[in-house]
Amino acid sequence: MNVEEIKNTIRSIFHETAPEIEFDKIQMNRPLRDQVEIDSFDFYRMMVKVNQQTGVFIPDSEIARFSNLQDLMNYLNEHQKS
């Protein structure tokens, strides 16, 4: 997947899991939780879907280091299986 495809995958997962959030209004480099209300349960469901749809497992210790969506996309880009 290229960067645009990764973003589209995340957009689609947001739509499925938290349809009340307008994904395209989220600024990728700003902390996600400053912009939208997302609880740990929804976030967990998103991580499960990210794993299922990209094949990339993201450990909790890495998630704890992410400060915004760009960090998540960078991680997926670096760890996806070719």
């Binding site: 009340e20 609880d39 976030f43 794993n51 299922q52 909790d60 210790s61």
Partner: protein
Amino acid sequence: MKYHVPMPSLGADMDQGKLMEWKIKAGDEVKKGQAIAVVETTKSTVDIESFREGKVLELVGKIGEQISVGAPIAIFEVEGSDLAPSAPEATKEIRLKVSPAARKLAQERHIDLTTIKGSGPEGQIELKDLETIKTPEKSGVNIREAIARAMSKSKKEIPHYYLKSQVPLDALMNWLDGKNQQLPPEKRLMLPVVIYKAVIDSVKESPLMNGYYEGGVFKPSSSIHVGLAIALKSGGVLVPAIIDADKMSLTELNAAFLDLVERTQKGELRNRELTEGTFTITSMGDLGSDEVFGIIFPPQVSIIGLGRMHRAPVIDGSSIRIGIVMNITLSADHRVSDGLNGARFLSHIENKLKNPDQWEGKL
């Protein structure tokens, strides 16, 4: 003999419930634990389960009716004579006389009929009695009132004491990363659930934290039903419990938690889950504050608060490193336990979180 099925209390703050749906009809044989009706409280819609086995003689409650706690909603024919309360006179009197037109309007406008003084014969509530009543703007108003009542009661009656520990979570996260990597994505264990497991296992060793304080006496509970404060997307907080959480493996607890959160948001809880919690955990998740000192949910006697996970300096022997930590707090009832008991409880939790290998082979 006849058994009058009462409107159950689904929390210390509940005075009445609105009958939304019958799941039984006259003539049905009902088993203990069977869902018999759906009741709406100020907080949620709940399946009411039967506490007795028997045959349905009459459905007394009408759909849409607000019924006071303790007032009969149905009459069963049951075996034996023990534990068979008949409807108390006081609750019979609470049954409201309402004209059909007034009842329809009240239902449409969500007006609580028990707050209305009727001007008709024998105090019957008529349409004209409702015309000047302002409609509640949204259900969030009621849930705020319910929280206000329960928390005011707690702060008035329970002498809280508060303790805090900062717990490093690096070892736990490394252990969890290793486990989750081996599991299929949909079976992934949630970090908060692993922390709940450590708390539940510690409650087993701290019986003064688990049970109810009622009538001036502490009644410890032999079961552990952990209440979890869950923020509703529609506003407010509910505290449903995972029943028999102490008997669950980590995997089972994870599945039970996911199921409970989903049903809480959909308003599909069972009455036991709202009434039988024996202690509570409240969690900040990733939002908000580094620590939270909870208010005890009466008649329980303790609440554990989980703050936001964050980075902080951790002292390891003679060196300092940056670690991932969580502030875990305890608010407990001083009528039941002392600070030393509370400190031991927190220490049990901390030890379990620092040594996750204890769960090896017990997932």
